[in-house]
């Protein structure tokens, strides 16, 4: 029982990282109807920025700075590579973001170099005891940070003019344009938000461990998450992220009972889950069913 509780709690920790990444995907998707394959690169860029900033200004200042920096990078990418493609088929833009991802990641990997880099988080691998259950502090921090950011995002979309404009543009771009919403600005803000979220998510993914080039694979796990939650659903991204995280940790804990599947099977469970979900509910748990008008 203790083992089960612990792995569920661990799963919530990793799941909140997925949730943050998935939120970025969904925000971009809602605004531009494109899945940005560049998110892994932004995540990696954010983490590497944190590893460089943290020794200089401390962890707490480094994370927001890196998030802003990554947001600006995403803004630049959107302006240079994605904006010229407005009106082109979504898959063409998606492939462009794939190109951005490949190119940006090489540059970021060069900054990682051969040294072992740490984000300099205050938690490390220390644990917190709740009765018999051991809980890692970094996971608690990840859950807390995700809660704060989700609340902040909710307030932003609900109460600010920009948030309202973004919701309007997501609902109907032309109607929003007709009401004076700058759809270009909405695109820019959503890319910047997604970049910032990716940077924070990356920091928590790397907390208590070292930063290496393979970290980007974590960001790809957010793809099954958004499929599970529904491409255009923000609550779906959060719920899906937590669910995938928990499932992954559970398979990791009980992998010995599944030895015939081979080692490290937990890495691919999200993808298997995604295949199953797609066969049953092609638009995800919370997504809008696509209705095609002829």
């Amino acid at each position: 029982m203790t083992e089960l509780t612990e792995s569920v709690l661990r799963g919530l920790g990793t799941g909140s990282v997925y949730a943050l990444l998935a939120l970025g995907f969904v925000i971009i998707y809602k605004a531009t109807r494109v899945i940005s394959f560049a998110q892994p690169a932004f995540m990696l860029a954010g983490v590497v920025a944190v590893t460089y900033l943290a020794p200089a200004v401390g962890f707490w200042a480094a994370v927001p700075l890196a998030a802003v920096g990554t947001g600006l990078l995403a803004l630049g990418v959107e302006r240079a590579a994605v904006r010229p493609m407005v009106g082109r088929p979504a898959f063409v833009v998606a492939i462009i973001t794939l190109g951005v991802d490949v190119a940006v990641r090489v540059v970021v990997n060069a900054f990682i170099g051969l040294d072992v880099r740490h984000v300099g988080d205050p938690w490390g691998l220390r644990t917190l005891s709740l009765g018999p259950v051991e809980l890692q502090q970094r996971h608690l921090a990840a859950v807390a940070a995700t809660g704060l950011l989700v609340a902040g995002l909710f307030a932003f979309f609900r109460f600010t003019r920009t948030g309202l404009a973004m919701r309007a543009a997501a609902l109907d771009q032309e109607a929003a344009l007709a009401h004076g919403v700058s759809v270009g600005a909405v695109f820019a803000v959503s890319w910047a938000l997604a970049g910032g979220l990716a940077a924070v998510a990356g920091t928590f993914a790397a907390a208590g461990a070292s930063v290496d080039a393979a970290l980007w694979l974590i960001a790809l796990t957010a793809l099954p998450v958004i499929i599970l939650g529904g491409l255009d659903s923000l609550p779906g991204a959060v719920v899906g992220g937590l669910a995938v995280g928990v499932l992954q940790e559970l398979t990791a804990t009980y992998a010995n009972d599944l030895a015939w599947l081979g080692g490290n099977v937990s890495v691919i469970t999200p993808y298997v889950l995604m295949l199953v979900v797609l066969l049953v509910r092609p638009y995800g748990l919370f997504g809008t069913r696509e209705v095609e008008r002829v």
């Binding site: 898959f91 492939i95 490949v102 081979g262 691919i268």
Partner: protein
């Protein structure tokens, strides 16, 4: 009639493979040049060109499903892997460390690799018929990860991660196809063999594309609902597109590693899929010749960057220095995809079309 080569008097002429005299001339000249290359180039370049030919077979396959039928597949690496392992297992040494059936004849393992990969494509197709566009891209991406896991773990077949296994043996009716002898070197023979296979596969794909099936593919790509309304059986043709594409990928995978002779599971990563996507998009989506051009371009790119290194001295050839040729090469994949999609969506084929149009109207080409 004789002096009006562009006048069409039947549908057969309209649909002909080489419908203008210029195309006949160009294709003939290109083939003659390609056949003569082994006498002009050194062996290491020929080996590279043999790899290009095989990559082109794979790219044609991806071009059929993505360029013609419009179904974005990021899972090409998975099907390449299936083909490579099927062929290697059939032709492998039965007494060896990994699974092998000992049937070394290319006439057995090549069709088998295509068939097994096609079956895998058919198994994936139910997902493809239910999903469209980006959903499909993500699912096929998941396929690469699942495939890589299986290849890594099933070490009885694949030799395991970081170890690998020997590739299929090139033999036909008991005669080894690629060994150096008095008439030609190994690399010359390899190149001619792969070139011949490429021509066969390319002509087959071109014929498929101009048939009823190919027209159904393009109809699905352009507007699937409209295609369904005019009577194209969507599930059937999407399944067919995946099956054919995977069969091409399987054959390409089977041949790809016969050149180097050895491969390990880490080859079939997402990067391989991205490379094939890049081949199709840079070459020109929806054309066979574009896919071939793209495959040659992308496969020669590492060599080109190495040559570039002589001109741009700050690029290092050492993998532990920054910036090195490997980084430049990977960045170029990304940047070229972006640049081509933004500025010339029709790819290298589009550049050729522009050049052709310019010279056709010359000197009035404004």
């Amino acid at each position: 009639m004789r002096h009006r080569p562009l006048l069409r008097t039947s549908y057969a002429q309209d649909l002909a493979l080489l419908d203008t005299p210029a195309k006949r001339w160009w294709t003939g000249a290109l083939l003659a040049l390609a056949l003569a290359l082994p006498f002009l180039l050194t062996d290491d370049l020929l080996q590279l060109l043999a790899v290009c030919c095989v990559a082109a077979i794979g790219a044609i396959g991806l071009g059929l499903v993505t360029g013609y039928a419009g179904q974005v597949s990021l899972g090409h690496a998975f099907f390449l892997g299936i083909g490579a392992y099927t062929a290697a297992a059939i032709s492998g040494d039965p007494a060896g460390r990994v699974i092998g059936l000992g049937v070394t004849d290319i006439a057995v393992w090549l069709p088998a690799a295509g068939l097994v990969a096609a079956l895998a494509g058919v198994l994936v197709a139910p997902l493809a018929t239910r999903l469209r566009g980006l959903y499909l891209a993500i699912v096929t991406l998941g396929l690469v990860f699942i495939g890589q896991h299986v290849f890594n773990e099933w070490s009885a077949l694949t030799g395991g991660a970081g170890v690998g296994r020997p590739a299929a043996t090139l033999e036909f009716l008991g005669q080894p196809l690629a060994v150096t002898d008095a008439t030609a070197t190994r690399d010359q023979k390899l190149y001619w063999l792969m070139l011949a296979l490429l021509v066969v596969f390319a002509v087959a794909a071109r014929n498929l594309a101009r048939s009823r099936i190919g027209r159904a593919f393009t109809a699905i790509r352009d507007r699937d609902i409209a295609a369904g309304v005019i009577g194209v059986n969507l599930p059937r043709y999407k399944t067919l597109a995946f099956a054919v594409s995977s069969a091409y990928a399987g054959c390409a995978g089977a041949l790809l590693y016969t050149v180097t002779g050895f491969f390990d599971p880490s080859s079939f990563s997402l990067l391989l899929s991205v490379q094939y996507i890049a081949m199709v998009l840079i070459g020109g989506a929806g054309t066979i010749s574009g896919a071939i051009a793209g495959a040659f371009f992308i496969t020669l790119l590492p060599r080109l960057t190495r040559e570039l290194q002589a001109w741009v001295p700050f690029i290092s050839t050492q993998p532990n220095e920054v910036p090195n040729v490997f980084q430049v090469e990977t960045i170029l994949y990304g940047v070229l995809i972006i640049v081509f999609l933004i500025f010339e969506p029709r790819g290298l084929f589009g550049l050729w079309v522009r050049a052709r149009a310019y010279w056709k109207a010359w000197p009035f080409s404004y």
